[in-house]
């Protein structure tokens, strides 16, 4: 994977690089439904660092998708109430920090597809069936890189005249019906074709980057004429067309065949390394995420329960939920050969009970767990857990839970010494 952040062992020493590109602070996204308010995302904190791949894992409904979509303002707003907290984004190359949650639609339009891009789970559904590959991919270039398209076609920025302004507008997808008709007429037709050719070149370049053998062949095709793998490559090409700082991958391989999955994963890593893009990788597939991600954040019922470097998380999972998940993976199961299912189901997120949301499914839960929600606290370098077993409430007369380490685990850890519960987030 990418050269990991060289984090110093002792906590408290300042980190050198890489810098965080996106910092999510106390994000809360609630939905208003007939039965009440669904607290889908409730107090999520994490940072996405430059050039890293951060995995966001959890069961269906844990809020990982909503969290990711909040980056781009893609959470449907009539059911969703205005989000609380901030999502601070800073361009890789310096520049100020901006809270993505406060952006108006124009500013957001500038970020989407350009600085922060997203690829979706089912490319068959995420591509418009009625538009060709050229149309859809071209859109990204025309919206965000129209200057490049114009330049590539040989149009100068200082060209004047009706034709020039019509062409400029066409390059930004602003042409109305009449304008398009005019551009089809002989005097302007030539220029229009040059514009198209220029766009085509950029499109094919982007497609070639995703290792599609013959990009020219698929330009005129419709999505349904392409295989699953090809479609996903088109999506990836779309997303990376403008060399974004952040790529959000929402279960990009779930809808693909296993053989194709591996290639797509490899492709994403390659491209990421090349451009030093940060990737937020959403999945419910733990074994996949282990291969792909530098760090992993485990979400449950709208909160992050554990976050840390991938290898460490898998070798020494701290949170009972994480342990439960890992115990349920066939490939990682203990030699004893038994799959353990976690009893119970995800709780109702409508007006939830106070206390740790995993409490009623947790084998180790005590009164303390039902009384308040635990915060994310560092238990190891760069590894934080939200569980009272590692950071019990001080000054309480309730007994904290105890989470013993599983037998076959590598080291024999004891829970980290009790620390004062910290309100500051850890990553």
């Amino acid at each position: 994977m990418t050269a990991s952040s060289s984090v110093d062992v002792a906590a408290g020493e300042p980190r050198t690089d890489p810098k965080p590109v996106v910092a999510v602070n106390n994000l809360r996204v609630h939905f208003q439904v007939k039965a009440g308010v669904v607290e889908a995302v409730d107090g999520v904190n994490f940072e996405l660092l430059e050039g890293e791949t951060l995995g966001l894992v959890g069961e269906t409904g844990c809020g990982k998708s909503v969290t990711a979509r909040s980056f781009l303002g893609l959470v449907p707003s009539p059911p969703a109430l205005p989000p609380q907290g901030t999502i601070d984004y800073r361009h890789r190359n310096g520049g100020g920090v901006v809270d993505l949650l406060t952006l108006d639609s124009e500013a957001m339009g500038d970020i989407r597809g350009n600085h922060i891009a997203m690829i979706f789970q089912d490319p068959g559904k995420a591509l418009n069936p009625a538009l060709t590959v050229r149309d859809q991919l071209g859109e990204v270039f025309l919206i965000h890189r129209s200057a490049d398209v114009l330049e590539g076609a040989g149009f100068g920025a200082d060209d004047t005249g009706l034709g020039a302004s019509l062409i400029r507008r066409a390059a930004r997808l602003k042409s109305g019906i009449i304008e398009r008709l005019l551009l089809a007429l002989p005097p302007l037709r030539n220029r229009r074709n040059r514009l198209r050719a220029s766009a085509d070149r950029l499109i094919m370049e982007a497609l070639a980057d995703t290792q599609i053998p013959n990009p020219a062949n698929i330009l005129d095709r419709y999505p349904h004429e392409l295989s699953g793998g090809m479609k996903q490559r088109v999506m990836i090409a779309q997303a990376l067309a403008c060399n974004p700082d952040v790529l959000i991958a929402d279960e990009p391989t779930t809808a693909l065949d296993v053989t194709v999955q591996a290639r797509i994963i490899e492709l994403i890593s390659q491209l990421q390394r090349r451009h030093n893009t940060s990737v937020l990788y959403i999945s419910h597939d733990l074994s996949l995420v282990r291969r792909v991600c530098d760090r992993i954040a485990v979400m449950y019922a709208g909160r992050i329960v554990e976050i840390g470097p991938a290898d460490q998380l898998f070798a020494r999972p701290k949170h009972p939920y994480t342990r439960g998940l890992l115990a349920a993976i066939p490939s990682l199961a203990s030699r004893a050969g038994e799959l353990e299912a976690i009893e119970g189901t995800v709780p109702e997120l409508i007006d939830p009970e106070p206390g740790c949301r995993f409490a009623d499914r947790c084998r180790h839960s005590t009164e303390m767990c039902l009384s308040a929600e635990p915060n994310l606290v560092d238990v190891d370098v760069g590894h934080a857990v939200s569980c009272f077993a590692y950071a019990p409430i001080t000054g309480s007369d309730q007994t904290p839970p105890t989470v013993a380490d599983p037998a076959p685990a590598a080291a024999s850890p004891s829970p980290a010494p009790a620390r004062a519960t910290d309100d500051r987030t850890a990553s």
């Binding site: 781009l72 893609l74 339009g109 989407r112 559904k125 069936p129 419709y222 999506m235």
Partner: protein, 337 residues
């Protein structure tokens, strides 16, 4: 290709349906009084009547009569129109042209207005434009055209005086020749801008009124279809690319929402067709519909039968065409994953 087979089957059945309709029409002529009536052009002498009876074999059993009537129809003999005092087939074309012009204009209004309204409402779901559109849509289906037309007439002709009735200003059109009998086209062909304007001006009120019902159902379908599309993944994906909302609507959602709307547009054709009868009466439009209405009142059976036959065949053909169109458009999407 089940769809293709289905469509071929429909195509093959079509002639049989037409024959079936002709039988029904023929039966109607036999029910309503004397079979000779269709062919009588004036007060005929008994010998003339007998001659007609012989020519159409009206003394023989009914199936034979049908045969001769049908073959007459196929050769263009649709009887004599008492209302127009001429053979049906000679009067038909000019009336047809008038109705085509009106129906086309109404369709154009209905399609453009319906799609625009539906898109506007669908994009602003459950807000004011959506509710207003829903009211229009619901009232459209229940609207008695004859009442609506009268109200429009009262408001726009009697009270406001914005629009005229009838098809054209005779003074302006006196000098125009009528190669196509479509006044708008004829005016353009004659290069007479004033006549063209006059023709359009006369068209507006009847076309909008006639098209109201169709506008309503098209808007309704477009709206629900758009709402459906807006929930699809590719819409979010388009937004995630940074497309401004209006482009997301126009380039992506609307294009896909148009497809189911096409079927409704085809359906609304039936609406329009039947509406011409009433609309032409009220707006004094000299087309097939008014001709039919006059014939109904005067018992001019030949015209009535010809009209029923014609509209049914048209209805069948258009329905089939719409289904073919939809199957063709749908193929691209259906053949996808």
């Amino acid at each position: 290709m089940q769809i293709r087979q289905y469509l071929i089957r429909r195509l093959l059945i079509l002639p049989f349906l037409v024959i079936g309709v002709s039988i029904v029409v023929f039966a109607l002529t036999r029910i309503g009084g004397s079979p000779v009536a269709i062919y009588l052009s004036h007060e005929m002498t008994p010998e003339e009547v007998t001659a007609i009876e012989e020519r159409y074999h009206l003394d023989e059993p009914v199936p034979v009569q049908y045969f001769y009537w049908a073959s007459g129809v196929l050769q263009g003999d649709l009887g004599w129109s008492g209302v127009s005092a001429a053979p049906v087939t000679s009067v038909f074309p000019s009336k047809l042209a008038a109705t085509i012009e009106l129906a086309f204009a109404a369709a154009a209004v209905a399609i453009s207005l319906g799609i625009a309204l539906g898109t506007y409402a669908g994009a602003r779901r459950n807000r004011l434009p959506d509710h207003l559109t829903r009211i229009v849509a619901i009232s459209g289906a229940a609207m008695p055209l004859f009442w609506f037309a009268i109200v429009m007439l009262i408001v726009f002709w009697v009270n406001l005086g914005w629009f005229p009735i009838g098809r054209s200003d005779p003074d302006i059109f006196a000098s125009i020749s009528h190669p196509t009998n479509l006044y708008t086209v004829d005016a353009v062909l004659a290069g007479n801008l004033r006549a063209f304007g006059d023709a359009i001006w006369h068209l507006i009120l009847p076309a909008v009124t006639l098209g109201y019902g169709a506008t309503a159902i098209i808007a309704r379908m477009m709206r629900s279809s758009l709402v459906e599309q807006l929930q699809e993944d590719y819409v979010d994906a388009a937004r995630a690319k940074g497309l401004p909302e209006r482009l997301v609507l126009r380039r992506h959602a609307r294009r896909n929402a148009l497809m189911p709307t096409v079927t409704v547009i085809g359906l609304s054709f039936g609406f329009l067709l039947q509406g011409t009868v009433v609309a032409e009466i009220i707006f004094r439009w000299p087309g097939l519909g008014r001709w039919m209405a006059d014939s109904v009142l005067r018992g001019d059976q030949a015209t009535i039968m010809a009209y029923v036959l014609f509209t049914s065949v048209l209805f069948l053909v258009v329905n089939l065409a719409v289904d073919v169109l939809y199957a063709y458009l749908d193929r691209r999407v259906i053949l996808g994953d």
